[in-house]
Assembly symmetry: C2
Homo-oligomer: 345 residues x 2
DNA sequence: CTAAAAATGAGTAACGCACCTCAGATGCTT
DNA sequence: AAGCATCTGAGGTGCGTTACTCATTTTTAG
């Protein structure tokens, strides 16, 4: 059960090592018939290159940059932490991760950060950024310069980015809609929506998915117009208080974006938890507690750890031209009820 | 930004390469003070061994065996397929996976299969098997022989297995309970349960979790006694027909085990889909369709692909004494509604 | 048919580490 | 201070591949 090496392939094909190497690494200077002969030998012998030897000989190393929004956002902090943690276990595999905090709302600065990157500095970039056209253009230019780019959490479908690591936000919104519809009694009731901004692609997608399901399958529910709170806890707190006052009979609440903390506080202050079905996004210490004590009823989440590891795997695969294991890289929508919260790490 | 190598460590510690090697690989013949000096240098320089070079030099290879129940079970077939698929991409990393079909209900044969395994044949084993004491004992003996063992899907907590790859079935049951409780109107109603066998640990766990939530938080619901269908579609079909006849007002149904196909058929034949909230486990072509057309209301699943890849990563880590990334190996409970079904691969 | 161009063979130096040997140095005991 | 055990240094080899160079053979064009 010895490993099959290029020597065996060379023997089988009746050529020299050098020729096998030329074929395997796509170097020029080999006749078509010879190429085919070598490839046939590879197939026959079921040859697989040895990743250890190849990595060693290639002196390969993977310099990855992660551009992640800063600011007091628990989810983004988790992303950064997971990236750092996973990177440390991957040092010995020659993966180095540099985390660059960015201001997600300042498209100009983000563009500038992308503009200075270059093949001489890094091999792959994962970026979390809002979908401004200039950012898309910067991504495209970066790829032209030979740096692989994946979008993280929030996609830029129009760009040439090689992969998107994140959840399907339309589906996430649909899930929220169905849970609201099914959790509430089958009778007329009001539902309120709070978003960071419908200008953000993921928020808009979630809203669209949610209203689609509610309009079609739960037409007895009245949907109030969306309030935008810029993902800010203070703003959301005020919005919620006003909302609860204006609509004493409010039955459902869907927070499309971040800033759950402000909403939770408002609901608990007014002791409206029992009568209100409240669904939000992302697992944080605050939402966890709210789910446990009944203030929140369901949480739709994405696992930042999974996303970071997926992004790194994908970028690595892109760097050495390896195929991407699709099933492995599909990020699922996590639905948390108080019953299936993961243990705290 | 050159890589730090053992040469650098040797220089820094003022010793030779041989000594560094002795320390790093735990070989004898080094004074305690020297060991400490080398370790200090390692820390100072932040030295990390190069996985490529180490793997190459060690001629390491990972021979893994997967023992997976055969029989007409879509989930187990998925497991096997995923194992094969992932293994093929890992050949170049010197991971070879052998899949051994077993008869999960024949503990004696399973024990026999485990008994002949040995360090000379394989380095790690992942086993899906019911929790009979003899199987547990066989696992322990196998580990004593130096072969790492992880349990897959169904755990043997009492054994010395190094890791369990699978979901928390009690939590899964609780989720089923809460979804039933919240999907149904807040008024008295009957709920039926079908299991493969409460003798199977995972089924018993799910049942316990589900009734715990229903009893405590939804006391208005009446829980009928569990029917056991041995995970057989034919048996389940008959059970369902009888159940629907005996209880024309049945409001909820939870299939704890496999054999959803039989239940789906029975419900669709009797046109009882609309009035019945039906929750089951595992995503298969049948349950997918049932969810889409409304026969089923929710699906609680575990991703066989994730589980296989996790098992392989864990076994690999155990083989070379590397730490396990806990967060990465936690298998989440997937909750599928008709809104978040993954695209077909 | 010949000269130029293209294809191939043969060989070699890395890559970083594991593992081995053997000689020499150092410490410790009497 | 000799004798012994214990440490340590120097050096070599092998792992499978990459990425060269240089010489040689084959093919192609004129």
């Amino acid at each position: 059960m010895r490993r099959v090496t290029i020597h065996d392939v060379a023997d089988k094909a009746g050529v020299s090592l050098a020729t096998v190497d030329r074929v395997l690494n796509g170097r020029p200077g080999v006749r078509k018939v010879t190429i085919e002969r070598v490839q046939a030998a590879v197939r026959d012998l079921n040859y697989e290159p040895d990743a250890f030897a190849a990595g060693l000989a290639k002196k390969r190393n993977y310099r990855l940059h992660f551009l992640i929004p800063n600011g007091p956002n628990a989810f983004m902090e988790d992303l950064s932490r997971e990236a750092r943690d996973f990177a440390s276990t991957l040092m010995r595999e020659r993966v180095s991760v540099h985390i660059e905090p960015i201001d997600a709302f300042d498209a100009h600065r983000v563009t500038g950060t992308l503009a200075v990157l270059d093949k001489s500095v890094c091999d792959g970039v994962a970026v979390v950024a809002p979908s401004f056209p200039e950012v898309r253009a910067a991504i495209d230019r970066l790829q032209d310069r030979g740096v692989h780019v994946v979008t993280l959490v929030s996609d830029h479908p129009a760009s040439t980015r090689r992969h998107f690591v994140g959840i399907d936000n339309v589906a996430a919104g649909r899930v929220a809609g169905r849970l609201l519809g099914r959790f509430l009694p089958k009778e007329p009731a009001k539902i309120a929506f709070i978003a960071g901004s419908l200008g953000l692609r993921d928020h808009a997608d979630r809203y669209a998915g949610c209203t689609q399901v509610l309009d079609n399958e739960f037409p007895h529910l009245e949907l109030l117009k969306v309030r935008e709170g810029r993902d800010d806890n203070g703003k959301n707190h005020d919005i919620a208080l006003k909302l609860l006052k204006e609509h004493p009979d409010l039955a459902g609440l869907y927070n499309i974006g971040a800033g759950n903390r402000g909403l939770i506080a408002a609901i608990e202050e007014t002791r409206r938890g029992a009568g209100l079905t409240f669904i939000g996004h992302e697992l944080t210490p605050y939402t966890r507690t709210a789910l446990q004590n009944g203030t929140m009823d369901a949480l739709i989440a994405q696992d930042p750890g999974h996303e970071v590891r997926s992004a790194i795997r994908v970028l690595k695969a892109l760097c050495d031209g390896a195929p991407i294991v699709e099933g492995q890289e599909r990020i699922g929508i996590d639905i948390f009820l108080k019953d299936n919260l993961p243990d705290l790490a």
